[in-house]
Symmetry: C2
Subunit: 149 residues, 2 copies
């Protein structure tokens, strides 16, 4: 009888462990998809779809180098101004070296590099730190700190 | 009898809620102390004490604008090089507008501004994003993204 309890206990622990691991892997995969969808949206010049990766809230924060933009709308306006206004272009975007690290069941942070290739051959690039939270509608960026050169 | 169970249930839920809230507030206070200790250490020119706020690991990452420094030693070397080598000074450091946000029981991220005042009157300043994790030895920065001007 005691052996049966031990066996049941071991099976239960294994199930919990597997479940927890799955959650981490499933979450990382879901976050990776959000970022890949952003890259695809950027490269078909669809800024609204790109912005779907961000938390649509006035509390979203976006640090671009030493400047803070507060709220989803300000982040979109910044992108429109910097990449879609007269004399600007979106170029081709590639994210590289993504490191997705879980910080809890419903939170994670992502480190990575952005690389742009412009029609004049210039290649602006830099590093970013993203903080993700899981909402009922999915994983969203709640804070973006990007700095390039 | 049923009322007694309902009462006990309500008391238990209140206890759990209070405990969870306490953990958040206690954690935020602990993180704030780490950052204030860093500010004090900097202002007495004690870089080793300043670095005690960082995870002493090769896996610590430090993004300074578009440059990545990997590991605790590289972060310390960068500070020594930029603020203690010939022709450089540490100045007076002040952190402002700290926003400490919990991401789980053992993780948080912090947004804030750094302001330096140098002896020649210059005031380098910028924004930072810190990711904190709770270790047996306390709360430590595992990732720092700082960008100034």
């Amino acid at each position: 009888m005691r052996n049966l309890f031990l066996l049941l206990g071991a099976v239960a622990m294994l199930a919990i462990f597997t479940l927890a691991q799955d959650t981490g892997e499933a979450s990382r995969a879901a976050i990776r998809t959000v970022i890949q969808d952003q890259q695809s949206a950027w490269n078909r010049h669809d800024l609204e779809a790109f912005m779907a990766g961000y938390w649509n809230s006035a509390d979203l924060t976006f640090f671009s180098a030493a400047h803070e933009f507060k709220g989803w709308q300000a982040a979109l306006d910044r992108y429109k101004n910097n990449y879609q206004s007269a004399g600007h272009e979106m170029g081709k975007l590639e994210f590289r070296n993504l490191q997705i690290e879980m910080l809890g069941r419903d939170s994670a942070f992502v480190r990575g590099e952005f690389h742009l290739t412009m029609s004049d051959g210039k290649t602006p690039h830099g590093l970013f730190t993203l903080v993700f939270r899981k909402f009922p509608e999915g994983w969203k960026i709640v804070h973006d700190h990007s700095a390039g050169e």
